[in-house]
């Protein structure tokens, strides 16, 4: 994807400059990839203490039914996604996927039941297309609004609870995937207990005018390190979480992406609200019969990281055609070695199976492993 010449900034740009962040173009925004401490330390600080990430580039979308009834908005959203939205209780959040007619994934998102409306967080690179998709499919019955005047912060790590509780004691009462309005430094914020690191933590949506003061209040707690997109990527990969555009895309079905768990029984064959989303026939059949290929964890031998788009082979003796490819690959600072995910045919997607990749003419052995690489620490 080509980057536009003028990058957008998040409302926290001045703070990033003061913290001496290295900014990179990402989905049309100038975003901090790392701070002077570096990706490795930011990653480890998040696992051991807490990291604070600016993820304001992500799409924050509000959906309200014109009838005023949440159920109408939920049922309307279900025409775009195979997940159960109507089954989501007030104050709860869940993972979702937008699909296309071929059963491919248009984007992944988090959706929260906010009692009288739905609140979605979607990927930065997809958010405009998501908005258009939602307006086309829901526009008659719902008001769909994407806001640019709210910051989204992710506070992640074992000390996230203690840090946020010092600003709002009720944060401690929340469990994984709870969503509440909390007042932080006198400002009403939408807070979910979730994230993209495998750690306990929160995502905090803040009116832009107050965001810098709240970010600074969190950083002042001492146990919180500013962390960039570099650490966010290595954290999510160790946690076995998919990155849209890498591990799944318009040509990958939820089952091929090993995301079948995200589709509740009520939307599957025989369920009360079976189907009724784009690509339903293909996806519902795959949920019963499996997909031809699937996403797996891959552990390269040795220290060398392997990268996305590297081909995967069954044998190191005769090269033949690649059977699959790496979709995400990096060095896992907590694992202390390289970690990767890739798509392979279902018959080799067996933990312990030895496969190979080729880097600069050398075959490098890989082992198919169970995901995640690092056990999640969610507070359920």
């Amino acid at each position: 994807m080509s980057e536009p010449k003028t990058l957008k900034e998040t409302p926290l740009a001045a703070l990033h400059r003061r913290l001496d962040a290295r900014m990179v173009p990402f989905a049309g925004y100038a975003m901090p990839v790392q701070y002077p401490t570096g990706i490795m330390k930011e990653h480890l600080a998040t696992r051991e203490s807490a990291g604070l990430f600016d993820v304001s580039h992500m799409g924050q979308i509000f959906i309200r039914a014109k009838s005023g009834r949440l159920e109408d908005a939920a049922l309307a959203l279900e025409t775009t996604t195979p997940v159960s939205v109507a089954g989501l209780k007030p104050g709860r959040q869940r993972y979702g996927l937008f699909t296309n007619e071929r059963g491919g994934i248009l984007d992944d998102f988090m959706v929260a039941n906010r009692e009288d409306h739905l609140f979605l967080v979607a990927n930065a690179a997809c958010k405009q297309a998501d908005l258009e998709n939602l307006e086309a499919r829901l526009g008659e019955t719902c008001d769909v609004t994407m806001v640019e005047d709210r910051v989204l912060l992710a506070l992640q790590g074992p000390k996230a609870e203690a840090v946020l509780t010092s600003l709002a004691p009720e944060a401690a009462e929340m469990r994984f995937m709870d969503v509440r309005t909390l007042t932080l430094s006198g400002v009403e914020c939408i807070v979910s207990r979730s994230g993209y690191t495998g750690e306990d933590g929160y995502e905090i949506s803040i009116p832009a005018d107050h965001a810098e003061a709240i970010a600074e209040a969190l950083l002042e707690k001492g146990d919180v390190a500013p962390a960039g997109l570099g650490a966010r990527d290595s954290l999510r990969l160790e946690a076995g979480l998919c990155l849209y555009g890498n591990d799944m895309d318009e040509d990958t079905t939820p089952v091929a992406a090993a995301l079948g768990w995200a589709i509740q029984k009520v939307r599957r064959r025989g369920g009360e609200r079976e189907g009724g989303f784009p690509g339903a026939e293909i996806i519902l059949a795959e949920l019963e019969n499996g997909a031809a290929r699937t996403r797996v964890g891959l552990k390269p031998e040795g220290r060398r990281p392997i990268r996305a788009e590297t081909p995967i082979y069954v044998s190191d003796e005769e090269k033949g055609n690649p059977i699959g490819s790496v979709t995400s690959g990096s060095f896992g600072p907590s694992v202390g070695g390289p970690v990767a995910m890739g798509h392979v045919p279902a018959d080799v997607a067996v933990p312990g199976k030895r496969l190979y990749t080729e880097i600069r003419g050398d075959f490098l052995p890989l082992t198919v492993v169970e995901l995640p690489f690092v056990a999640p620490c969610y507070k359920r």
Binding site: G230, S234, R303, R307, P333, R360
Partner: protein, 120 residues
């Protein structure tokens, strides 16, 4: 004699043998290194050929041979602990020693003042 290349390598040349590494500027730009692949002892490279590979958490980069020559020694310590390149790029983080094919070629490289001007 300390020399620098536009590709952000340094060469400390004594008696026609250059100790080669990457500059502090390069190490900072690359970020935390997690993997280093060094050339084999005795291998010969032309100027500009890929002599080593470094990988950070995020990406792979090549280290080019700054002048033509033969590798006489490699620093195994950085293969075992790539963070040495970040913590001490001009010292313990050296990559390899190169016996120069034509020692006079080094005259064309930048000195420290020229390199500092190049990166500022």
């Amino acid at each position: 004699m300390l020399k620098f290349t536009e590709d952000h390598e340094w060469l400390n040349i004594e008696d026609g043998v250059a100790t080669v590494g990457i500059t502090a500027h390069a190490a900072e730009q690359l970020g935390d290194l997690v993997f280093v692949e060094l050339p084999d002892d005795g291998s010969e490279f032309d100027k500009g050929a890929e002599a080593a590979t470094v990988e950070s958490v995020k990406a792979a980069s090549d280290v080019f041979c700054p002048l033509s020559g033969t590798i006489t020694e490699v620093n195994q310590a950085i293969a075992d602990d790539p963070s040495l390149v970040n913590s001490d790029p001009m010292g313990k983080g050296w990559f390899f020693k190169l016996k120069l094919a034509n020692p006079a070629d080094a005259d064309a490289l930048m000195d420290q003042a020229a390199y500092e001007a190049h990166t500022s």
